[in-house]
Amino acid sequence: MKLTGHAIVLLARLLSGYTVRWVDCQPDTCQRVYFANHTSHLDAVVLWSALPRHLRAITRPVAAKDYWSGGWVKPRLAKAFNAMLIDRKEIKVHQSPIDLMIREMGDVYSLIVFPEGGRTSGEEMGQFKSGLYYLGKKRPDLELVPVYIDNVNRVLPRGEILPVPLLTCITIGPPIFLEAGEPKADFLNRARSAVRALKGDEG
């Protein structure tokens, strides 16, 4: 599966010609949750490919199990970039998606999440779901790193199959943490504006 992984990275690089900017943040092997805006199927692949190789090995995109386990191609793809497939249908006590994620990531892995839930059209970011808040609450040691993914929605918009190889840009910003006693809504708004703030400063 290593080979598939490299092939995917190469393909993503050719197809999306991404540039990566680390703004007030450095690549590090400490445990992190990268949270980003979600506009295209390619987001997870491009963001994962954009990380340095030693980080790719310990960073897992979180994806929905029901979608990614269907068919022949999708499970293999998911395995190639070590995706963490989370069951969103069968939610039990101590078996909530957040518990699963925390258990799966142990003290090694970092995660890539898209807190908007679904893909948006790319113009305006949707409201964040509360998962990020619970992750921060249960594991306060995790660095929550905002990422803004620009232009990938033009490479492969919703509902399209054929990609157009435009240039994209990934901006990785300074980590945020859940403050003590910070209300959920406030934190989620802060996280959302942390992502949006990375959109502005071009050049």
Binding site: V20, R21, S121, N151, R154, L162, L167, E202, G203
Partner: protein, 356 residues
């Protein structure tokens, strides 16, 4: 790969692309390449020495720009020489890739809507490769394609994008069903295709011309020299224009578009580029005064290309195509001059200096 098999392979490539024994590179091409290599080498040495000096007579920022420019030229030079080693097919593929990348920068820079997605797919994966395949076929299409007829694909590749692609693009956008700013969107894509693909493709098309002296006499040189001459002159024109603007620039042409381009720069560059071209006429089928005239035309077109791209960038609010998507040097900034100069240079050469 050993030398002998390399030569064999090169011959095979020539046979496949139908070059009927015509010399690919002649001594004059090598001399031209060596001259450029030497000048770049000397300039790099000067740059290194200046950088080491503690007390500078010129600003360090200017020196940094100079050294950066030199690195870009070294890269261009290396890529071109690499292409020349791969013969005609290699050069056509190389320019195809450059067009692809330039178009990518162009479309990234200009906003398109969701409804344009499939049109863009056609533009990137059908029209761009097709144009270069047609250029590659040129006069030497294989037998199975022409079925014995004498076909020069010039007739097709010179109209494919301006006519057929230009009709296809608005139709495809209309089918996608989004009418917002319809004409504007069509025009953006058409312009990108015209500048980045169609115009640039005339540079490798030069390799197909059956070159003659202007009086119809035989010319025993390599078309590669002429292609290299065009690119070299376009780059020289750009530099000289900046130099003249800096030294003697007073009347800015359009301050809203580009504050550093002046009429003095354009005229100065035209004359000095003409002189440079005349000095290099030995590499081309042009007499010295013809080479001078051609170079002046190239200088004017290079200026037109630079202005046009500046206008597009101003409209998008960016300084260089490079800053929109950081980390790239901005390929489009480097080749806008060649893009605009290539079709004019090609047609002048075809009309006055070729047997076709």
């Amino acid at each position: 790969m050993s030398g002998a098999s390399w030569t064999l392979w090169a011959q095979a490539v020539d046979a496949a692309s139908g070059d009927d024994g015509a010399v690919w590179l002649t001594l004059r091409t090598y001399i031209l390449l060596a001259v450029v290599f030497g000048v770049l080498g000397i300039a790099t040495l000067v740059g290194i020495i200046l950088e080491r000096r503690e007390r500078l007579a010129i600003e360090p920022a200017m020196l940094r720009r100079f050294n950066h420019r030199l690195r870009v030229w070294w890269m261009m030079f290396a890529i071109l020489v690499f292409g020349f080693l791969l013969h005609r097919v290699g050069v056509v593929v190389l320019f195809g890739l450059i067009s692809f990348w330039a178009l990518r920068e162009f479309i990234t820079m200009t906003p398109t809507r969701r409804g344009d997605h499939r049109t863009l797919f056609w533009v990137f994966f059908v029209f761009t490769p097709l144009q270069y395949i047609l250029i590659g076929l040129g006069e030497n299409a294989p037998e199975w394609l022409t079925r014995g007829r004498e076909i020069d694909f010039y007739g097709f590749y010179s109209i494919m994008i301006p006519v057929y692609a230009s009709l296809f693009i608005p139709a495809r956008i209309a089918i996608a069903g989004d009418f917002k700013r319809f004409l504007e969107r069509s025009a953006k894509i058409q312009a990108g295709l015209l500048v980045c693909v169609y115009s640039l493709s005339y540079a490798p098309a030069l390799l197909d011309l059956d070159l003659r002296l202007s009086d119809g006499g035989e010319w025993t040189g390599s078309n590669v020299s002429v292609l290299f001459f065009l690119i070299l002159i376009a780059q020289i024109a750009d530099v000289l224009q900046q130099a003249w603007s800096r030294v003697a620039g007073k009347n800015v042409i359009a301050i809203e578009i580009n504050a550093s381009r002046t009429w003095e720069g354009v005229v100065g560059s035209m004359i000095t580029t003409g002189l440079c071209g005349a000095a290099l006429s030995w590499a081309t089928p042009f007499a010295w005064w013809e080479a001078g005239m051609m170079s002046m035309v190239v200088a004017v077109m290079a200026f037109a290309g630079g202005m046009t791209l500046s206008a597009i960038k101003r409209d998008r609010g960016v300084n260089d195509t490079g800053t929109l998507v950081q980390g790239h040097a901005g390929l489009l900034d480097r080749i806008d001059n060649v893009c605009f100069a290539a079709p004019v240079f090609y047609h002048l050469t075809r009309f006055y200096f070729s047997a076709a």
